[in-house]
């Protein structure tokens, strides 16, 4: 079984060569590992590699193909790239600009103020929305010069992390 895994900026080719219970032989790009890998708690894996003991925590996301990963001290974002994902990526390739036009909330919170309205011209760095969470207010700035074409949220609205807020074109 072979697939690609996107880890942050890196795209790695992964091939499972052998699997016997929790003993696996697996190839990542050009390197072959023999590992003892077992899930020990919900989302927590213990990995032994030549006697070295590692712990890896996987955090499920809304997509079964995407993970947030914590190792010893480090955090990563991973995505499993199978045929379906590749197809979707190809389809979206033309729209990459689109994604970069939309300001997305990095955390849950409450919209305090939206000092712009659709049709307003904004310059890169202008504050376009203020979000409050945990007794702290954060200002979000326009990522480029342009015109506000859409505002997806309202003042006083409670928002989730990763929610689209404002589209600028």
């Amino acid at each position: 079984m072979a697939m690609e895994v996107q880890l942050d900026e890196r795209l790695a080719k992964v091939e499972l060569l052998a699997e016997d219970g929790n003993m696996i032989t697996i190839k990542v790009d050009d390197k072959v590992y023999q590992l003892d890998l077992i899930q020990v708690e919900h989302g927590v894996y213990s990995v032994l590699y030549h006697g070295l003991s590692y712990n890896v925590e996987l955090i499920a996301t809304e997509s079964p193909k995407k993970y947030a990963i914590n190792t010893f001290y480090h955090s990563y974002q991973a995505e499993i790239i199978d045929a379906e994902t590749r197809y979707q990526r190809a389809r979206n390739a033309g729209n990459e600009f689109e994604a970069e036009s939309t300001l997305v909330s990095p955390m849950p919170g409450k919209v305090v103020k939206i000092p712009v309205k659709p049709g307003d011209k904004v310059q890169k760095g202008d504050t376009v929305i203020i979000i409050a969470a945990m007794k702290m207010e954060s200002e979000y700035k326009a990522m480029k010069d342009g015109v506000v074409v859409d505002i997806y949220v309202k003042e006083e609205q409670i928002i989730d992390g990763n929610q689209p807020l404002i589209k600028i074109e």
Partner: protein
């Protein structure tokens, strides 16, 4: 007269509500929790003997709603209310309302809260009692021109501060003559917005100060003792991050002198209850009264650890009218204690708060480690309150060993689902200035490069992360093909213990 308290309403949430309830439980006192709508599943609701909803998430509609809390207190027939820290803990009106209703407020009198809450009154009260205060003004300043005159007389740099202030609001450092007027106006306008009062005062700016505070306990009969100092100079934007006791710059003589002044400060206002006298200490070990906190402090556990006394129990005993049983000469500091505050925040991203669902948590255990927390697996940290998840307190015979223990405990502490500052705290423990005890309130600013350095070792764990994600996905899809997980039965542990079972049965 001693009136035994048998039921306490804890007008707070989070770790401090739990911490207070723990002491109540040990004393055989029943506890009543209050909670806002988003806190129905919070640990303090589950830990208490009784729990009542007091309104929607925003604090001013629930945890700051005095009448609602008084109503619950009467309904549940409590003898006393413990306000914790934050929220209503330094609200003289609330304290007075309790008195009117015949409910014991576990804290000082409303008069003392008022005196110490107004910084100018506090300063002049201290001056009268011979406690050194930061050189500056002691009357209410309203005339801008006069302020400029005074600043010129004191000499730059100075701090302009709001009399009703706190939490760094309405505060400006002035270093240049040209900045005086604009800073003054800025401070006034901020103070007006935050406290409804634009009165300010001027303090000489103490360069590279230490923030050192003394824990004091006073009873209703005029006995006051101190439980030594806490070093609180590791701060980020006036928010304490790490505290320790003893202070690395303290010596026995200075402790004696500052302790006596702390006691004098408390006696000057007939203080009773637990309180904290905050001092600024400069490099020459000159010290100045900064302010008094008339409540329990977040960092009180390090004092509990080295002195052995349970400060919440002392608060309750004092509120019952018991005379202090601890004598000053009995108070010793046994070993060294450090507290680190665990915040739900993204340290790599300008310390942005990170509320959300805690998917997994492992608390550090073992010798010399105390955790005061309130979150659990499956708990959703609400975005409505403070980002502090817990406090990690370690102790050891020496400061060096305490730092090693803190590093070990931080290593063991695993919280996933939300981002935390655990890695940042580990960097503090590794920082040479901290290890040598050579730091003041500029520590975090001065060491920012070191503390926020990017992970160079990250790349070597990449393959590990890739393999694990791959295998998890591989097993997930295999299971689906085999028709598992479609039986509707709880399969939480089943899958990853299946192999073990097989091994055990053969």
């Amino acid at each position: 007269m001693v009136i035994k308290i048998s039921k306490v309403l804890v007008a707070n949430r989070g770790e401090i509500a739990l911490r207070i309830m723990r002491s109540c439980r040990e004393m055989g006192i029943k506890t009543v929790a209050v909670y806002s709508e988003v806190d129905r599943t919070s640990m303090h609701v589950r830990y208490a003997d009784r729990a009542y909803s007091i309104g929607p998430a925003p604090s001013n509609e629930s945890y700051l709603n005095i009448e609602k809390i008084i109503e619950v207190a009467k309904l549940s027939k409590v003898d006393a209310i413990h306000p914790g820290y934050g929220f209503l803990s330094e609200n003289a009106t609330f304290c007075q309302r309790c008195q009117q209703e015949g409910i014991i407020f576990i804290g000082p009198s409303p008069e003392v809260i008022r005196t110490m809450g107004d910084k100018i009154t506090a300063r002049s009260t201290m001056l009268k009692s011979g406690v050194p205060v930061v050189p500056g003004t002691n009357t209410k300043l309203t005339d801008d021109e006069k302020v400029v005159d005074i600043i010129n007389k004191i000499g730059l740099p100075v701090m302009i501060k709001a009399s009703a202030g706190g939490g760094g609001k309405g505060m400006r450092l002035v270093e240049k003559k040209s900045e005086i007027l604009s800073s003054l106006r800025g401070a006034r306008s901020e103070a007006k917005t935050a406290f409804g009062d634009d009165t300010v005062y001027i303090e000489k700016y103490i360069a590279s100060p230490h923030h050192i505070e003394f824990q004091i306990l006073g009873d209703q009969y005029g006995n006051v003792i101190h439980l030594c100092e806490r070093e609180c100079s590791v701060q980020r934007r006036h928010q304490k991050v790490v505290e320790e006791t003893p202070s690395p710059i303290m010596n026995a003589e200075l402790r004696e002198k500052m302790g006596q002044h702390a006691i004098a400060a408390a006696k000057a206002v007939n203080y009773y209850g637990a309180g904290t006298i905050e001092f600024l200490v400069d490099d020459q070990l000159n010290f100045y009264f900064l302010e008094m906190n008339t409540r329990l402090q977040v960092e009180h556990p390090i004092t509990e650890r080295v002195t052995g006394y349970d400060i919440v129990k002392q608060q309750i005993l004092i509120a019952e009218g018991s005379p202090l049983e601890i004598k000053q000469e009995q108070v010793i500091q046994f070993g060294h204690a450090i507290e680190a505050r665990i915040y739900a925040e993204d340290t790599d991203n300008n310390f942005m708060p990170s509320p959300g669902l805690v998917t997994h948590i492992t608390e550090p255990l073992g010798l010399g480690v105390r955790t005061d927390g309130y979150v659990f697996e499956g708990y959703r940290i609400p975005m409505d309150y403070d980002p502090m998840i817990s406090k990690l307190i370690v102790s050891a015979p020496t400061r060096n060993e305490a730092i090693e223990r803190m590093r070990r405990a931080l290593y063991e502490y695993k919280i996933t689902g939300v981002k935390t500052n655990i890695k940042f705290l580990e960097r503090i423990m590794d920082c040479p200035d901290f290890k040598e005890g050579n730091y003041n309130t500029h520590f975090i600013k001065n060491n920012e490069t070191f503390l926020l350095a990017s992970d160079e070792a990250k790349i070597q764990f990449e393959d590990l992360a890739i393999v694990t994600a791959f295998m998890d996905y591989h097993h997930k899809t295999k299971k689906c093909r085999n028709g598992f997980n479609q039986t509707g039965k709880p399969s939480r542990w089943k899958d990853f213990h299946r192999s073990q079972n097989v091994k055990r049965i053969n």
